[in-house]
């Protein structure tokens, strides 16, 4: 599985979200098929709410992790139905 990593620290809303949505849109095929996952590093706390809300309604899975001085957000294609 491939991983694309974006460091968007220093950016604030709304451009943080728009940036993420743009990358998700462009990689939608590989994300859904499970070949790819996207990782974003951000220090914008608001993005921790806005990104999951939007990306989940689009049918993706999201993981957030707090790292030193920033957050790591991982976006994957939706999980298969059990």
């Amino acid at each position: 599985m491939g991983t694309k990593k974006y460091d968007i620290r220093g950016q604030i809303c709304p451009s943080t979200l728009l940036m993420v949505l743009k990358e998700v849109n462009e990689n939608s095929e590989t994300l859904k098929s499970g070949e790819m996952e996207l990782v974003f590093l951000t220090d914008n706390r608001d993005a921790l709410v806005t990104i999951p809300q939007s990306v989940e309604t689009m049918g993706y899975c999201i993981e957030t992790m707090k790292e030193k001085g920033h957050y790591r957000i991982t976006i994957k294609g939706s999980l298969d139905r059990p």
Partner: protein, 701 residues
């Protein structure tokens, strides 16, 4: 007319449009939940570069696709739930907090006999509780009140018992909005359980109620069941018995290894399932205990696998009672016997006494007095016969047994008994007839008595059929009171007058007879002799048709053919033995002569010493030698025993001699050897005594 370009108006329109676009972008950003774009942060050129509308539109496209997928999945899930709802074996009901039915499955209609197709909108208690609203035991109400799973194991509605489970469906705030109720009819299950319980109880009561001890064993010989009677008989508590190995029980310690093994079903399966009983003598705390154990192999049960059931009876008391009964019966038959003897002898004595009286009164008339004395003689002859027959009942009359074949005995007795009668006979003896262990003389008497009985029943002639076959008594043959084993079965069947039913039971009783002048001892002695041979005699009769006597005699272990050969050889040896009897009583000559013939000897008889010496001389001339002579001591009007022996020793020095006399006070009898005799048989003598003495004398060097 040329339209002039108003630049200020143009700018105003562009500004308006830009404002509109920026507002709508912010509106979209608001919808997706992020902050608006600050006008000062992004120039129009930067805004176009960023393309927020494009990004949001693309995202929305994905949101819509996802929504469609989710909807499709939701519909599938709803269909799945609906299918489960309908197909599950439980009755399912969904109710709202007012207990109104929201949904129900097919099974619920079946369970509550609902005829209407749609009960939705009805209250649940109308359907399940049959209109008993506000009942105490309401599962649905409890679910809403407690807001958790509620389970009732035995909820009754009319005659039906249900297992009911209620579960709440909660809203996003966790409040119960609906309740799902499942109903499972357990009435049939309860009924079956109750019946099984009843059956178990019935079996328990039956097992506990019987007097026989019952033990069930598993295939390894361990006890898996014991009843109270077993506790009592074996003097051990049930708890101690169960789990114990059968060979550890006291009674089993008395058994040999093979018998112990019989208790193991696996063992008996390999051979043949053993079914049968055995008697075991044990020592208990209260003394000797006799147990009868009956074993039944059960090989059919799959659940318990193979098992054996032992039925144990304590027969100590039964045997004691049986013994007492036997003693009582003995006493009873003794009194009948004594009465019979008294009666018989009184008649004879009366006849003797009156005959003597008459003779005395007529002493002048010799012929007359002779006639009366002859009457007395005849009566005394009867007395002798009576005494002779009674000797069978005497204690000393136990049979002197030898292994023999019944074939020859049959031939001899038939010839003796039926000779000169108008009765025909048919004889059928199976070729491989087993040998028997019998007293030949006594048994000859049995057959003779039966033949005489038949003869007397056929005064007008007829046929007697005699049959001898091998017979194996098995556990299945009920009614013949003999132990299982090999027997020789004799059948004597006549075509005579038959015996009335009421007399059949008594014909073996001593002194019972329906024929005038009969002693009533013949069949009784036959019965007694057969019993002493551990055999059995039975009678069947139909008046006017005939009578059948059946005798079962235990067969010997020796092989028939080989054994018969041996018997013949022994008999051949005996055939070489020649005996002479000298006695003035012709009855004695006839009876003892016959007896000795039956024993297998050559016999000659003489009524006095002179005749005896004459016969012996004649035979010696033809090289026929005698081995033994039986001499009567006193012969009125002829040569007596002592003198005869002197003469006989002159012509046959090695001859053995036995003295016989009815007088007990003769000097010779006390010192017989001094007079040259080798043995003595005082009269009256029994066949066994005669045989014993002959054997003794002949075996002496």
């Amino acid at each position: 007319m040329t339209k002039t370009f108003d630049i200020s108006k143009h700018e105003e329109r562009i500004n308006l449009l830009t404002r509109y676009i920026r507002d709508k972008i912010n509106q979209l950003l608001n919808i997706i939940g992020t902050a608006p774009i600050n006008d000062s942060e992004l120039t129009d050129a930067m805004l176009t570069e960023l393309d927020p509308i494009g990004i949001v539109a693309d995202s929305f496209k994905q949101v819509l696709i996802n929504l469609r997928n989710v909807n499709r999945e939701l519909k599938l899930a709803r269909d799945e739930i609906q299918a489960i709802f309908e197909s599950v074996g439980l009755g399912l009901l969904v109710v709202d907090p007012d207990l109104k039915i929201v949904a129900q499955n097919r099974k619920i209609k079946e369970l509550f006999h609902e005829k209407e197709n749609n009960s939705e909108g009805k209250f649940c208690y109308e359907l399940t509780c049959k209109h008993q609203s506000k009942i105490q035991d309401c599962t649905a109400r409890e679910v809403f009140e407690k807001n958790r799973l509620v389970e009732k194991h035995h909820w009754k509605c009319q005659d039906t018992t249900f297992h009911v489970i209620g579960a709440p469906i909660k809203d996003s705030e966790g409040k119960p909005v609906l309740a799902v109720l499942s109903y499972y009819n357990i009435s049939e299950q309860l009924k079956q359980e109750e019946e099984r319980e009843k059956e178990r109880e019935l079996l328990r009561i039956t097992l506990e109620g019987i007097n026989e001890g019952i033990l069930s064993l598993d295939q390894n010989g361990a006890i898996i069941l014991a009843n109270s009677a077993a506790e009592d008989i074996l003097e051990q508590k049930k708890e101690e018995l169960i789990g114990k190995q059968i060979e550890d029980l006291n009674f089993c310690k008395k058994l040999v290894f093979q018998d112990k093994q019989v208790f193991y079903p696996e063992f008996s399966k390999q051979l043949q399932p053993y079914q049968g009983s055995m008697c075991i003598h044990c020592d208990s705390e209260e003394g000797k205990q006799i147990l009868e154990i009956y074993q039944i192999p059960l090989l059919f049960s799959e659940k318990i696998k193979s098992t054996t059931v032992l039925i144990i009876r304590d027969i100590t008391e039964n045997l004691r009672i049986e013994r007492e009964m036997l003693n009582f019966e003995k006493l009873e038959s003794l009194s009948i016997l004594a009465g019979g003897i008294a009666h018989g002898f009184n008649n004879i004595l009366t006849s003797v006494m009156s005959s003597i009286d008459l003779a005395r009164m007529n002493l002048d008339n010799r012929d007359e007095s002779e006639t009366y004395l002859n009457y007395a003689d005849t009566a005394l002859d009867q007395a002798r016969k009576l005494v002779k027959q009674l000797s069978v009942f005497a204690k000393g009359g136990s049979p002197i047994k030898e292994v023999t074949s019944l074939r020859e005995l049959f031939h001899e007795v038939i010839q003796f008994s039926l000779d000169g009668s108008n009765v025909k006979h048919e004889l059928s003896i199976s070729n491989d007839l087993w040998l028997v262990h019998i007293d030949v003389a006594q048994f000859g008497q049995v057959i003779n008595n039966l033949l005489l009985n038949s003869l007397q029943a056929m005064s007008g002639g007829g046929t007697i059929r005699l049959k001898a076959d091998n017979y194996i008594k098995t556990a299945g043959d009920k009614g013949i009171p003999i132990p299982n084993g090999r027997y020789v079965k004799l059948l004597i069947e006549d075509t005579g007058t038959g015996i009335e039913e009421q007399n059949l039971k008594r014909i073996f009783d001593p002194f019972f007879s329906t024929r005038p002048g009969s002693s009533g001892i013949g069949l009784a002695s036959a019965y007694s002799i057969v019993k002493r041979h551990y055999g059995h005699i039975a009678v069947k009769s139909k008046p006017g048709t005939g009578t059948t006597f059946t005798i079962y005699l235990p067969a010997t272990r020796s092989m028939n053919a080989e054994g018969e050969k041996k018997v013949k050889e022994e008999k051949k040896k005996r055939d070489k033995i020649r005996i002479m009897i000298v006695d003035d009583d012709e009855m004695i000559l006839k009876s003892t002569g016959k007896l000795l013939k039956l024993m297998g000897y050559y016999v000659d008889t003489a009524t006095n010493g002179e005749t005896g010496i004459k016969i012996m001389k004649e035979n010696l001339a033809e090289n026929i030698h005698y081995d033994l002579v039986i001499l009567d001591l006193v012969i009125p009007g002829g040569m007596g025993g002592v003198e005869t022996l002197k003469h006989l020793r002159e012509i046959a020095p090695d001859i053995k001699a036995v003295v016989s006399s009815g007088y007990s006070d003769e000097e010779v009898l006390g010192n017989y050897s001094e007079y040259g005799f080798n043995g003595i048989v005082p009269k009256p003598y029994k066949s066994a005594e005669l045989q014993d003495e002959i054997n003794k004398v002949l075996s002496e060097a």
